[in-house]
C-alpha cells in the first residue's frame, strides 16, 4: 500500500463522486453502531435505575415470616396459625453460627405522626440497633437507633424522608424536637433519607423507627414477632442456610419440617440473581439486535462496493495495464470500504453519545434521584471503532477479490 496524500484523496474522491449512494449506504452502518451504543448505554442506565431501588439493602439477606401450616403434623390438623417469639431470635443466633445478624422487626401501620399543626400518616417500625445491617440508613441528620436506646427503652425515633418533609416543612435539623406518633411523644434523633424501594413492612420513606422494646410496651405486643431478618456472614450463601432455619423453626413450633408454606422465607439473594439473569438476558438481546443491525449495514456496504467495482471495471483494467499490482487494487477497494464504514460509524458513535448525554441529563434532572449513568465508556467507543474497522475490511473483502480478478485486457474489451 502506498501511503500518499493522493491515496487518501482518491478514496475521498470516489466516495464523494456518488454522494447519495455513499450516504445511503453509510446510513446503514451509522444506524447500526448508533443502535448498538444507544441500547448498551440505555440498558446500563436502566439497570442502574432499577438497582437504585435496592439501594442500602444487604444482598445476602433473608426475611422469615411465620405463616399458616399446610400439612398435618403429629396429630394436628393443617391450617394452624403459629407465631415466632423472641426466643427464636436467640435460638437462630446460637444454632446457626453462619448467620451474622438475626434481628426481629415489629410494625404498626397507619399511625398519625404529629408535629405542631403538621400531621402525616406513617408506619411504626420497632427494631434493634443491628437492624441497620439489614437496611442501611442514609442519615441526613442525626444518628440511628443504638444499643443504649434499646437497653434503656428510650422514647426516640428516626423518621423517614416523607415524614420529615411533611411535618417539618421548613426543613432544618429536627433532631431534639418532640413529635407525637400514635399516642406517645418521641424525640427525633435522626432523619433517614434512604430512597430504596425495597420495603420490609413499609418503605423507609414513611417509617418512624423506634427501639423495639418501646414499641412492644406501647402497643402491648407481647412475645410475638411478625418477622425476623437474617444476614449471612460474608462468603456464605443465605440459600444454603435456608433448610437449617426451616428445620430449627419446625422442631420448635411443632409443624412438618417439609411444610414449605408454614415458614415464608424471602431470600434477597434469589431476587438479585433473578435481576442479574434478567439483565444478562437484556444485554444479550441488545448485543444481538445491535450487532445484527451493524451487520445488515455492513452487508449493504459490501453490496454497494460490489456494484462500484463492477462499474469501475474499465478503470481498474486501465490501472492494471499501466502497472498497478493486484495488491494496489486490493488495498484501494478495502481502504474505500474501511473509510465508508469508519466515517459513517463515527457519526453513529458521536450521535449515540450525544443522545445518551441528553437522556442522562433528563433522567438525572428528576428531583432527589440518585444520579444514573447512561453514557457508554470511552473504551466501549474505542472497541466500537475497532469493530467498525474490522467490519470495513470484511465488507471490502468480496468486492476487492472481484476487483483483483479483473484482467487488464478487460479494459480494452470494454468499448
Amino acid at each position: 500500500m502506498r501511503l500518499d496524500v493522493d491515496t487518501y484523496r482518491e478514496i475521498a474522491d470516489s466516495l464523494v463522486r456518488n454522494k447519495s449512494r455513499s450516504l445511503l449506504t453509510g446510513f446503514g452502518v451509522f444506524w447500526g453502531i448508533f443502535m448498538l451504543l444507544f441500547l448498551l448505554g440505555g440498558g446500563q442506565g436502566l439497570k442502574q435505575l432499577i438497582t437504585a431501588n435496592f439501594e442500602g439493602f444487604a444482598t445476602n439477606t433473608a426475611i422469615i415470616v411465620a405463616d399458616r401450616t399446610t400439612k398435618p403434623w403429629k396429630g394436628m390438623k393443617e391450617g394452624r396459625n403459629w407465631y415466632m417469639t423472641y426466643t427464636d431470635v436467640e435460638r437462630l443466633k446460637s444454632m446457626v453460627p453462619e448467620l451474622e445478624t438475626v434481628t426481629p422487626v415489629v410494625s404498626h401501620w397507619g399511625q398519625e405522626v404529629v408535629n405542631g399543626t403538621n400531621t402525616v400518616n406513617g408506619n411504626i417500625k420497632g427494631v434493634y440497633a443491628d437492624y441497620c445491617m439489614i437496611e442501611e440508613p442514609r442519615l441526613k441528620y442525626g444518628r440511628y437507633i443504638n444499643e443504649a436506646d434499646v437497653a434503656q427503652e428510650r422514647k426516640v425515633c428516626v423518621i423517614g424522608k416523607r415524614i420529615y418533609t411533611s411535618i417539618f416543612p421548613d426543613g432544618g435539623d429536627p433532631c431534639g424536637s418532640m413529635i407525637k406518633v400514635g399516642p406517645v411523644f418521641y424525640q427525633v434523633i435522626g432523619v433517614d433519607y434512604s430512597s430504596g424501594n425495597i420495603s420490609i413492612n413499609g418503605s423507609a420513606d414513611e417509617s418512624v423507627v423506634i427501639p423495639l422494646p418501646v414499641v412492644q410496651k406501647v402497643y402491648h405486643d407481647g412475645d410475638n414477632i411478625e418477622l425476623i431478618c437474617v444476614t449471612g456472614r460474608s462468603g456464605i450463601k443465605i440459600s444454603s442456610l435456608e433448610d437449617r432455619i426451616r428445620q430449627i423453626m419446625a422442631r420448635k413450633h411443632n409443624y412438618d419440617p417439609t411444610d414449605k408454606d408454614a415458614l415464608f422465607v424471602m431470600n434477597t439473594e434469589q431476587i438479585f440473581s433473578i435481576m442479574d439473569n434478567l439483565f444478562t438476558g437484556l444485554n444479550f438481546l441488545i448485543l444481538l439486535v445491535g450487532l445484527g443491525t451493524i451487520l445488515a449495514g455492513v452487508i449493504g456496504v459490501s453490496n454497494i462496493m460490489m456494484v462500484t467495482v463492477k462499474e469501475r471495471t474499465t478503470e481498474i483494467g486501465i490501472r492494471r495495464a499501466i502497472g498497478a499490482t493486484p495488491r494496489d487494487i486490493l488495498s484501494q477497494i478495502i481502504m474505500e470500504s474501511i473509510s465508508l464504514t469508519l466515517v459513517a460509524g463515527s457519526f453513529g458513535i458521536v450521535f449515540a453519545v450525544l443522545l445518551l448525554n441528553l437522556l442522562e441529563t433528563i433522567v438525572n434532572a428528576r428531583p432527589d434521584a440518585s444520579p444514573v449513568d447512561f453514557q457508554v465508556s470511552f473504551w466501549t467507543a474505542v472497541i466500537a471503532a475497532l469493530l467498525l474497522t474490522v467490519l470495513g475490511v470484511i465488507a471490502g473483502m468480496a468486492p476487492a477479490s472481484r476487483a483483483m480478478s479483473i484482467k487488464p485486457v478487460d479494459a480494452m474489451r470494454d468499448e
Binding site: V5, S14, I322, G323, P408, V409, M412
Partner: protein, 240 residues
C-alpha cells in the same frame, strides 16, 4: 532483438476452442516503428496483448530484451508493464474523474515516485505534447486528439522501451489521426522509442517503417516500408 517471439501459440477456450495464434515468429529491433496489420479476427489484438504482457500465451517463447516472459506472477507482470511498456488505446482509456495531469502521473504513482516529482514530470511531458494549458482539465473537456495526446504522455512518462498502440487512430478523424501518427513517428525518430502499432487501416500502417501482415493467426509477409509507399490509397494522406 528487443522483442522476440518464437512459435507462440494461443488458444481461447470459451466453449468452442479458438486457436487464435498459430505459431507466431517475430523479431523487432530496438528503435523500430512497426505496424501489425490484419483484418478483425486475424489475431492482431491478441498478439498485441501478449507482447504487452496483458495476456498469457500457451506454448512458445517470448523475450523482451533477452528476458523470457513466461509464467510471471501478477506483481512481476505489473512491474514489467509499468517500466518497460507504454500503452496507447483506441478509446484513450483515460480515467474520467482525473484531470489530464493526474492521468499522466498515474504510472509514476504505481512506481512509488514522490508526489512532487511525478507532478513535475507529468507537466514536462504534457508540455512537450503541447497540452500544458490543459493539464487541469478532465478528459470529457478535451477533444479526441487531445485525449490521445494525454494518453501518449501517460505512455511516455515511465520512459519505456516499447510503446504499444492498439488502433490509436480508431476513434479519431483523419486529420487528427495524421497528427497522432506524425507524433508517434517523431517520438520514434527523436527518442528512439520502439513503437508497435496495431491497425487495420492501411493508411496508418503506411506511416510506419515496417508492416507486419497477420492473417488467421499466422504472420504473412513483412513489408519494409521505409519509403512509405505501401498505401493503396496514396501516400499523402491517411484514408479513413
Amino acid at each position: 532483438m528487443l522483442i522476440e517471439l518464437k512459435d507462440v501459440n494461443k488458444t481461447y477456450n470459451n466453449g468452442q476452442p479458438l486457436h487464435v495464434l498459430k505459431g507466431i515468429n517475430l523479431g523487432i529491433d530496438s528503435g523500430e516503428f512497426v505496424s501489425i496489420m490484419g483484418a478483425s479476427g486475424s489475431g492482431k489484438s491478441t498478439l498485441l496483448n501478449i507482447i504487452g504482457i496483458l495476456d498469457n500465451y500457451d506454448t512458445g517463447e517470448y523475450y523482451i530484451d533477452g528476458r523470457l516472459i513466461k509464467n510471471l506472477t501478477e506483481k512481476q507482470a505489473a512491474d514489467y508493464r509499468n517500466r518497460m511498456i507504454g500503452f496507447i488505446f483506441q478509446s484513450f482509456n483515460l480515467i474520467s474523474f482525473k484531470t489530464a495531469v493526474e492521468n499522466v502521473e498515474l504510472p509514476l504513482f504505481y512506481q512509488g515516485v514522490s508526489r512532487h516529482k511525478r507532478h513535475e514530470m507529468a507537466m514536462q511531458f504534457l508540455d512537450r505534447l503541447g497540452l500544458a494549458d490543459w493539464a487541469g482539465h478532465y478528459p470529457n473537456e478535451m477533444s479526441g486528439g487531445q485525449k490521445q495526446r494525454v494518453a501518449i504522455a501517460r505512455a511516455l512518462i515511465t520512459q519505456p522501451k516499447i510503446i504499444l498502440a492498439d488502433e490509436p487512430t480508431g476513434a479519431l478523424d483523419s486529420k487528427t489521426s495524421e497528427e497522432v501518427m506524425q507524433l508517434l513517428g517523431q517520438l520514434n525518430k527523436e527518442d528512439g522509442v520502439t513503437i508497435i502499432v496495431v491497425t487495420h487501416e492501411s493508411g496508418v500502417a503506411n506511416c510506419t517503417d515496417k508492416i507486419v501482415h497477420i492473417k488467421d493467426g499466422i504472420i504473412g509477409n513483412i513489408e519494409d516500408n521505409r519509403e512509405h509507399r505501401a498505401s493503396v490509397f496514396g501516400t499523402s494522406t491517411i484514408m479513413k
